[in-house]
């Protein structure tokens, strides 16, 4: 069952088509990655989901019902360009932003205290935002995003500006939120986080959908049938069996051979290699999301 469905959304600014017939299905309790270079239309799509911008045409369904202004309380949004009132105290400000999401002041404070303890930042409550470091502000910002326990969370480049320790903290929080039932849409350039976190992705460029699917399926779809094998040769001179397509060989200091080889069937490949010597390791070289991303974008730009 999909929690979020986007159907044929179009958006034009002046004579520039920013979104061209975009459709997405986001399964409930999954993490969905929205990928694409700068200016691809990600932020516009996210703003449409947040009802900041209206689409020219197309429909959006949340939990099977058309998106309505009341859904603001069901969505938590961490924008890429984010900030807080500098002169306002942290606690006061967090309560204000939670109130705008529809929580009453007392409930907001109760939940905030809980989060502040969890993040070990209780003593920030009465500090002004301008007294905090940028990383500290990001933590507050994250809490403010999730405080109303939204069913759909939208993160736009969530890891930008965080130090590695906080990135880890954030990843764990995101996974925890998903396990508790939230559906998460996140937009990023950070491919390693995509592979780690996302269940499904969509790749857009110039407002058009280029690729969509599960991360595992996509990797399978773009596999190049390359394998990296390390063997300890039985003879000093390596004998290559007939029909093997060797792409590269390299001998290391321990006398082990590193071979990159192409083959359609892993089992046949192993039975061929076994003749050459003792197999130390054997693994398929799958393309990284980064490679797929760069390949697809550059070929779509050429068209």
């Amino acid at each position: 069952m999909n929690y979020l469905e986007i159907r044929n959304v179009n958006k034009t600014y002046g004579d520039k088509q920013v979104l061209n017939d975009i459709s997405i299905d986001v399964p409930r309790q999954s993490i969905y990655g929205l990928l694409g270079p700068n200016g691809a239309g990600k932020t516009t799509l996210i703003r449409i989901l947040n009802q900041i911008t209206m689409p020219d045409s197309g429909q959006i369904f949340l939990d099977g019902k058309p998106l309505s202004p009341n859904d603001i309380a069901n969505i938590g949004y961490l924008p890429e360009e984010r900030g807080l009132y500098k002169k306002m105290k942290v606690g006061e400000q967090a309560i204000y932003l939670a109130q705008l999401k529809g929580l009453d002041a007392r409930e907001a404070e109760r939940r905030l205290r809980h989060w502040f303890i969890k993040f070990e930042i209780q003593n920030w409550w009465d500090k002004k935002v301008e007294e905090l470091s940028k990383g500290m502000q990001q933590k507050v910002q994250f809490i403010v995003t999730v405080i109303h326990e939204p069913k759909l969370l939208i993160f736009d480049e969530p890891f930008s500006g965080f130090d590695p320790i906080n990135v880890n903290l954030l990843k764990n929080e995101i996974l925890e939120l998903r396990d508790k039932g939230a559906t998460i849409l996140f937009s990023t350039h950070n491919m390693s986080s995509v592979e780690e976190l996302c269940d499904n992705i969509m790749l857009i460029n110039h407002g058009q959908k280029i690729l969509e699917g599960g991360v595992y399926d996509i990797k399978q779809q773009y596999r190049s049938h390359k394998y990296e094998v390390v063997i300890r040769p039985s003879q000093s001179e390596l004998e290559i069996p007939q029909g093997l397509t060797i792409l590269a060989t390299e001998k290391d200091a321990n006398g082990e051979m590193h071979i990159t080889v192409e083959s359609m069937h892993a089992n046949e490949l192993i039975s061929d290699i076994i003749k050459m010597g003792e197999i130390v390791s054997f693994k398929e070289v799958l393309p990284s999301m980064n490679d797929i991303f760069i390949n697809l974008i550059s070929s779509s730009n050429q068209r």
Partner: protein
């Protein structure tokens, strides 16, 4: 209601600021000082001086006994040589010496006062007027005219200006109405500017802070804009209220500490000014006149008009300023947009003298009806009395324009707040209105 939450924040963060408290409490002190200082200075200046002893060296012998000693000054007539007297002033025996040299024609027109410390202006003018009356008296006598006849012939003319309406005739006091009009006009000018600029700065702050996107994902941009405008309007009204209360309180306290005769010192000063203007010398009559002036002004109508025009004008300008704030990236870029808008408000300010001196001229009427200038233009004319239909037309035009401009501004605002790093021109802004 979310707009209520926004109004509350906009209001509280500003009211809690130190600068707000300082301005709120210092301004009434300043007003009170403005009210009391002139009275204190003009009425009590002599009290602050010590008693002075003045020697009179009258070579013409015409003024002997003419200068009368008072509580503050003692005149002593001495026939010694002036150079000797000057030395004695230097030694501190006298505070000063008045030297009237004798002339061949025996009509002295010059006098010299020597002193170490500055002689008070009041004393100088007393000597001048005494000499004047004495000489004039002598001249009249010499020509064979009885000075009493001349005195009897001197007449004070009192011209009253009375404006007629259907049911009553009312005395008017143009000078006072002019002053009141210009005073109100300046207040409205400053507060509209002050508070609508605050709206603009607030919008720019949210934009440069980048908090804007978090907020507009929770509330509609229109709600945020209106929340800010209303919140700041309430700050302005709070400030007015506190000013009024505090000014009255401070005046009350101040007058209990002053001698009884100075309780109505402002009234007295006003009476003196009117005395000069109308040459009415009877002080009883002038006091009556002050009360007449106060009674002739319809303060209730002025207060209502002031509030309605302040609110209308403030909303109109702050909606425009909010749109400007949304369109630019920082405050330095606002100038090209703020200047032409400000001109609209400055025009009636520049014409205020013209309007107040001829409140029913076509220029005055147009400036008080055209929405952008009417908050100032009409407030200038209100103390003189304005036909009710003109007020109705002007207010309706103002509020309709305010609604239209708020609608247009919200469109610019909606697009502008999410637009970064773009130098915005007027052309661009008109394009946003069409989106």
């Amino acid at each position: 209601m979310k707009i209520g939450i926004i109004i509350k924040r906009e209001y509280l963060t500003r009211v809690k600021k130190r600068s707000f408290l300082i301005i709120t409490f210092l301004a009434p002190l300043f007003f009170a000082a403005l009210m009391f200082l002139p009275a204190l200075l003009t009425l009590n200046s002599e009290k602050f001086d010590e008693k002075k002893t003045i020697a009179v060296c009258d070579e013409s012998k015409m003024f002997v006994g003419k200068f009368e000693s008072t509580d503050f000054n003692t005149f002593i007539y001495i026939d010694d040589d002036i150079t000797d007297l000057k030395l004695r002033v230097k030694d501190g025996e006298y505070d000063g010496v008045v030297y009237i040299p004798g002339t061949s024609l025996n009509i002295p027109v010059n006098a010299e006062i020597y002193s170490v410390k500055q002689i008070p202006m009041t004393l100088v003018s007393y000597i001048r007027s005494t000499m004047k009356t004495t000489v004039e008296h002598e001249k009249l006598m010499a020509s064979g005219i009885d000075p009493d006849i001349v005195k009897a012939a001197t007449t004070a003319i009192n011209v009253q200006s009375i404006r007629m309406s259907d049911d009553e005739e009312k005395e008017t006091f143009d000078e006072f109405e002019l002053m009141l009009g210009i005073f109100l006009c300046m207040i409205i000018y400053f507060v509209i500017f002050l508070f609508s600029q605050q709206v603009m700065r607030g919008v720019i702050e949210e934009k440069t802070n980048r908090i804007i996107e978090v907020i507009v994902s929770s509330v509609k941009p229109f709600e945020l804009m209106m929340g800010k405008i209303i919140g700041i309007a309430l700050v302005g009204l709070t400030q007015f209220l506190l000013w009024a209360v505090l000014t009255l309180a401070i005046s009350g306290v101040a007058s209990t500490f002053l001698p009884a005769q100075d309780v109505f010192s402002t009234g007295t000063v006003m009476a003196e000014q009117i005395e000069e203007m109308s040459e009415v010398t009877d002080s009883q009559a002038t006091l009556q006149m002050v009360f007449d002036i106060v009674n002739s002004i319809n303060f209730k109508a002025i207060l209502w008009c002031f509030l309605l025009y302040f609110i209308g004008g403030y909303f109109l300008y702050s909606a425009i300023f909010a749109a400007i704030g949304a369109a630019v990236d920082n405050e330095t870029d606002t100038q090209q947009f703020v200047t032409p808008i400000s001109l609209l408000l400055i025009i009636p300010m520049v014409c205020s003298g013209l309007i107040a001196s001829a409140p029913d001229s076509p220029l005055a009427i147009w400036l008080s009806i055209i929405p952008f200038t009417s908050p100032l233009g009409m407030i200038l004319r209100i103390p003189f009395g304005v036909p009710i239909w003109q007020v109705v037309v002007s207010l309706s035009a103002l509020y309709v324009t305010f609604i239209i401009f708020t609608w247009l501004a919200s469109k610019v605002y909606r697009t502008g707040i999410l637009m970064y790093g773009k130098k915005v021109s007027w052309k661009e802004i008109f394009k946003w209105i069409k989106y």
